[in-house]
């Protein structure tokens, strides 16, 4: 198989584009595609300092690498989630990436901040992914605001967006659909702009990018993700993609261009301010503060019970 650009041996075939590329052509091509997404969606400019959320996985490390190669000013943000060995390994990889390239990285331990994901799942009935998402969203905004970053970039890819869109459509989650876009402008003084520069990049492309660029990322799957609904939605989308290449891209792209603008009014409801932490919330207390309170209450109850036994 030959590279569509230079005719050398191809190492990657992109079925959605009916094209194949060698690594020498693929790497700058993907960087160029991401730059096009950033510009088209007006995500950020070269003058802005971007906080890049880095998990230690392939997507966020590929994103950080691409942004650096494109000349953007970046600082990494790694949240050590407190999910056993998985989090320890993820942290090591994020730190190693930053150190090898002499890049600034904020490395925040949720356990030291008072509530790790393992605590949330041990003391509440919430699914681990729900608690994890709540904590991540809270700290992305809080740390960006506290340290003066105007924008947080995350490594959400096309597969994530297609699976999320499918889930939102299956349940007609109108609020979520209205907010599903590659640029989320702040609707509260303690929100920052959130952007997804890889929203048109597949998981396969970001994994291949890391392979070609020799970026070490965590291969293990999060232990909490077994049986996660998003993975089931991804499998359905991958089956559709296998039958009809390009389905994922057109599903997300057509939604953004044709359907989502009709949902604009749903997205305009401004948040309140959380009574607990002052961060934005759609209820009196934000979901992170409710989670913290639930864990504290149950932890105290278990401690009382243990003392009385």
């Amino acid at each position: 198989m030959k590279c569509n650009r230079c005719g050398e041996r191809a190492e990657i075939k992109l079925r959605q584009h009916n094209a194949a590329f060698c690594r020498t052509c693929f790497v700058p091509l993907l960087q160029k595609h991401v730059r096009r997404s950033i510009r088209k969606q007006k995500m950020f400019s070269l003058d802005e300092h971007i906080l890049v959320a880095v998990s230690g996985g392939k997507d966020s490390l590929a994103l950080w690498d691409i942004l650096i190669e494109l000349g953007y000013q970046t600082t990494g943000l790694h949240l050590s989630l407190g999910i056993g060995d998985y989090s320890d390994q993820s942290t090591e990889l994020a730190v190693a990436f930053a150190e090898a390239r002499n890049l600034p990285l904020l490395n925040i331990s949720l356990r030291e901040e008072g509530l790790a994901v393992d605590d949330a799942t041990a003391f509440t009935n919430r699914p681990a992914c729900s608690a994890c998402g709540t904590l991540k969203r809270h700290y992305f905004d809080k740390l960006a605001i506290d340290r003066g970053f105007p924008v947080v970039a995350t490594g959400h890819n096309l597969d994530d967006e297609a699976a999320r869109l499918l889930g939102n459509v299956l349940h007609w989650q109108m609020d979520y659909l209205a907010r599903q876009k590659p640029v989320l402008e702040p609707t509260h003084e303690r929100f920052v702009r959130k952007v997804k520069p890889l929203y048109r990049t597949t998981e396969f492309e970001s994994a291949a990018y890391c392979f070609f660029r020799k970026i070490d990322y965590i291969l293990d799957e999060c232990p909490n993700s077994a049986g996660a609904t998003q993975l089931k939605h991804k499998e359905v989308m991958n089956q559709l993609e296998a039958a009809s290449p390009g389905t994922k891209l057109s599903f997300v792209q057509d939604f953004l261009e044709r359907a989502r603008p009709m949902m604009q009014s749903e997205a305009n409801r401004p948040p309140l301010t959380c009574e607990g932490c002052g961060m934005p919330s759609f209820t009196e207390r934000c979901s992170r503060c409710r989670l913290v309170r639930e864990v504290q209450t149950k932890r105290a109850r278990y401690a009382d019970r243990a003392r009385s036994e």
Binding site: E203, F204, F211, D220, C222, A228, L231, Q239
Partner: protein, 65 residues
């Protein structure tokens, strides 16, 4: 051929010379959900894996929520 499957860290043996896409299909992978690696290079769908090759199949799917 000897195949290492990641992240499960499993090893399987298949006989004969085979197409990448057939190996992926036989091991239960949909197209675009795993990289096939031989040494320092990726092998795209449509190419052959030789009977005496040692390869790695690395899933690219991640997620939660």
């Amino acid at each position: 051929m000897r195949i290492t499957i990641l992240p499960e860290r499993k090893t399987v043996e298949l006989s004969g010379r085979r197409l990448v896409s057939n190996v992926l299909r036989d091991l239960g992978y949909l197209p675009g959900t795993a990289m096939v690696i031989r040494g320092d290079e990726l092998i795209p769908e449509g190419e052959m894996i030789e009977a005496d090759d040692e390869i790695e199949i690395r899933s690219v799917i991640s997620g939660g929520i």
